[in-house]
Symmetry: C2
Subunit: 338 residues, 2 copies
């Protein structure tokens, strides 16, 4: 008798901010693994800002989730049954099986995890896609040099926290931006950034300027919106802007009111000889061994710390993603599924 | 008795488009050269879009011309009197002595020109600052690969014409944009671009799309404005945009009406992993020998052609610059001073 499989599908496409009714919890029969596959039981599901893009119909760098399809996402899962020689029941793997309790997956696409090396949830955070996004974007595009100032928003989050800590390791001044005093205290006190500003403060622009007395050499862009407009005048000549995400825009249904600031942005790029470059982590897939080696080492040495925000129960994933897009999470957001 | 020196000074700063009264023709005594200097008589003065920026008070990548000061600019000049051993009367030099008939200049800052190698006016155009701007920006930032599509506006101008011809030499598809059918015919017929579109055509967007059947891999940005907005949706994944100039904005007194398109631009950078990078030619000063070697060779071989638009008389320089900013020139704009 097949196992019951609870899963969350895209019920409808959101207009603006996603709402609970855009998701639907379903129960189906768990699949049976084919030859070369394993049946996986999801332990932890990763929730990440990019998922908002997948809910839209429009073309992006990946095809959208279709209405009625299971929401996509990375997971740490346990092998329940294996029809592949390299996997055995009880093994823990990194899989891209989405918002559901069970899935059958090709063994070739799974990465086996060693719980003795690091807590397995790190494969979804600091040692996973978000950590590698931070590492590759900062080092390849940001190219921080000792003594330079690196600014990153969502600084207590999965990507931003790693960006700032690597900047410190590279002898840069690391300035974070986060939402609220508690996150800022954590970014300074626990993560060791040189400064962290609350973008909700009425004096945010003045505070950011004061925290960057030599201007900004690298702005790791993961939010957009008004934070970006505040950063732009502080960018130094020859500054680099890795464009990693724009969470402030993901729920937008139309462009902001005018004036059209594109000419200001282009003038700044021209006069200050700025570099803006968009990327996604898979563009640097070949650097995964370097990333794992360096960040594992820094983790062991205590030079990189991380924080997880774990929500219990698959049924709470929709609310958790809605909260993520509002900045409600505090640390890498995970759903404990089983 | 000192020679009389006619010169054009900045009379007042323009608000928007420069007007004749922002300039003033003065007569003063020509300077006497000091030890190590030469007295130069201007033969040709170069007029270039960057000069509009120098007329503003605001900070840019170079200090502004002060009100009452001689307008800046590059010139081909003849040595009239020399107090430096390496220069002799009759020598022709490249100098940065501005809008005037005579100037004294340090011999160390002058480049001696050999009229036997190429017409001396080319030192202000295809073998000078505009040509090197095209060469360095296209090759360093654009990085065109064989078979790719390179688009450049102001394609009959001093920079654009060289960008497209180098793109052809690099086995790319070169698509120009210019103002009016006569310029477009020249760009296709004489310069050998694969296509050239008139940005004033009511069907410009459709025509540009049709001329770029495989999208755009390199957009050499020297105009901005509506041309840029038309190009943006056609950029391919991983396209490169060297930001060299924004002539469509130089006379603007305020930002265009909304909506604010910055979020669209940033989303395109993110999703398509675009690179935007501003530059000015001096950023690549070390590449001057490569530039002179390559472009001289291509000129001799007939693989690069150029066109000059020569205005007679220093007193006509203000109207000529005003016309340049309106796209009235046809080819590299020069003023024959003597």
């Amino acid at each position: 008798m097949p196992l019951p499989n609870r899963r969350i599908v895209l019920a409808s496409r959101p207009a603006g901010e996603p709402r609970p009714e855009n998701f639907r919890l379903e129960e189906a029969a768990a699949p049976r693994p084919a030859e070369g596959q394993a049946l996986l039981r999801t332990r932890y599901l990763s929730l990440d800002p990019y998922m908002r893009g997948r809910m839209n119909a429009g073309p992006s760098y990946a095809p959208p989730v279709e209405v009625g399809q299971v929401m996509e996402g990375g997971a740490v899962s346990e092998v329940v049954e294996s029809r592949a020689p390299e996997l055995h029941p009880g093994d823990l793997v990194l899989a891209y099986t989405g918002w559901q309790e069970y899935a059958a997956a090709d063994a070739a696409g799974l990465r086996k995890l060693d719980p003795g090396l690091a807590p397995v949830t790190t494969a979804l955070g600091v040692l996973g896609m978000p950590g590698m996004t931070a590492y590759t974007g900062l080092l390849n595009i940001g190219q921080p040099k000792p003594g330079e100032t690196v600014v990153v928003a969502a600084a207590s989050g999965a990507v931003g926290s790693v960006v700032g800590q690597i900047a410190r390791i590279r002898d840069c001044r690391a300035v974070g931006i986060a939402g609220g005093p508690e996150k800022c205290r954590f970014v300074r006190g626990e993560l060791g950034f040189d400064a962290c500003l609350d973008h909700r403060s009425p004096d945010f622009a003045a505070e950011l300027k004061a925290a960057c007395p030599r201007g900004i050499d690298v702005y790791f862009e993961n939010v957009g919106g008004s934070v970006f407009q505040t950063v732009l005048p502080l960018l130094n000549f020859f500054a680099r802007v890795p464009v990693c995400g724009l969470i402030a825009h993901y729920n937008a249904t139309r462009l902001p009111e005018g004036p059209d600031r594109v000419p200001s942005l282009m003038s700044a790029i021209l006069i200050k000889r700025l570099t803006f470059r968009g990327f996604i982590v898979t563009d640097f897939a070949a650097q995964q061994p370097d990333f794992l080696r360096d960040v594992s080492t820094w983790l062991r040495e205590g030079r990189i710390k991380y924080r997880e925000d774990i929500v219990e129960g698959l049924e709470n994933a929709p609310e958790a993603l809605i909260g993520l897009l509002r900045g409600r999470n505090f640390g890498k957001l995970l759903v404990k599924v089983s």
